[in-house]
Amino acid sequence: MHNLTDEDDAAIVARCRHGEGAAWEVLVRRYQRLVFAIVRRVGLDEHAAADVFQTVFARLVAHLPRISDPHRLQAWIVTTAKREALLAHKRGQRTVSMTRADDDDGEAAEWDIADDSALPEDALADLQQQNLVRQALDRLDERCRELLLMLFREDGDKLPYEDVARQLGMSVGSIGATRSRCLAKLRRLVEPAPTPR
């Protein structure tokens, strides 16, 4: 059965422009972790973080008709989330200075953000890479996804192989080989297919 989550950003944006609410939900679910991670990293309190999270998606709805290259959607989301999070942080410190009213939407203000050390480019690149892998995990077949989610839990929540085997109905001895196969599948989903030239 066709699954919207398998479609790339360009196709999902096209569906949104056509008025498909289901495509918008896919877009939100695809990027919620990335936006939330960026917002959290700036150190906003719960209420400010929630405001920024909603602001980013509100701006995305408004921006959808003007996206000229949907393949660069993730870069737009990251830039917007970073800017809005830093702006909210500065507002909290009451040290915001506004320089000129013009941004890539041509509608909202661009702000002079003095300190973006909480979100260096390397950290943003890491978060994007992690989100890409997480999106691929969501598209993996259920058995592989469950296995990898169990095996790659954080140290405090780690399950012994015996528990993983019991929960998934497999033998302990087969976990290692299945893990390797599932990681290879995941890697194929993450890596772009080579283009024959």
Partner: protein, 178 residues
């Protein structure tokens, strides 16, 4: 964004570990963000989209089902696959419509300067659906695309490439009339 291609298996496993640890936003925040769609009338989205694209009408240049009779002595078996050719502003668009497992598949290729783009196929307004579901595909290598699971009916195919919106004349998808 960093590519994953040069990562060793161990490095990739570490990346997966960090990805699994990436927390979900609270469900209430996700629901509220999804709910923002209600404030965006689809008709406005479409109108604004069309405003920034050059709208180009494609012209039909060949239809295998409408082709004239064969020359004397030439034999052919009627094909279930319909072959259509269109032309639009320096691009040739090759479309094939074929029955597949009770539905139809529409495959095609855009021959022109574009190496990326989106193809949308929607039921024509005369089919009575107010907000028809779009079949969407992105152009692949060599400008090819494939849409599957299409029910019989009349459809409009729209190609968005390089700032141009190419609209094909309505295409009837269905069995060949005997």
């Amino acid at each position: 964004m960093k590519p994953v291609t040069p990562l060793s298996d161990d490095e990739f496993a570490q990346l997966v570990r960090r990805a699994v640890a990436l927390p979900d936003a609270p469900p209430a925040l996700i629901r509220a963000a999804i709910g923002q769609w209600d404030g965006a009338p689809p008709s406005l989205l479409q109108t604004a989209t069309q405003a920034i694209l050059n709208r180009i009408a494609a012209a039909l240049t060949f239809d295998s089902w409408a082709a004239g009779s064969l020359a004397f002595g030439v034999r052919a078996v009627p094909s279930d696959t319909r072959h259509l050719l269109f032309t639009a502003k320096g691009r040739d668009i090759d479309i094939r419509v074929a029955p597949v497992a009770g539905h139809f598949a529409v495959t095609g290729q855009i021959l022109g300067p574009d190496d990326s783009g989106v193809v949308e196929m929607t039921a024509a307004a005369s089919d009575g659906m107010e907000s028809p579901r779009a079949h969407v595909a992105t152009l692949g290598f060599l400008g090819e695309f494939r849409l599957t699971g299409i029910q019989s009916g009349t459809y409009v195919l729209t190609l968005r490439v390089s700032g141009d919106e190419i609209v094909l004349p309505p295409i009837h998808v269905g069995e060949r009339a005997s």
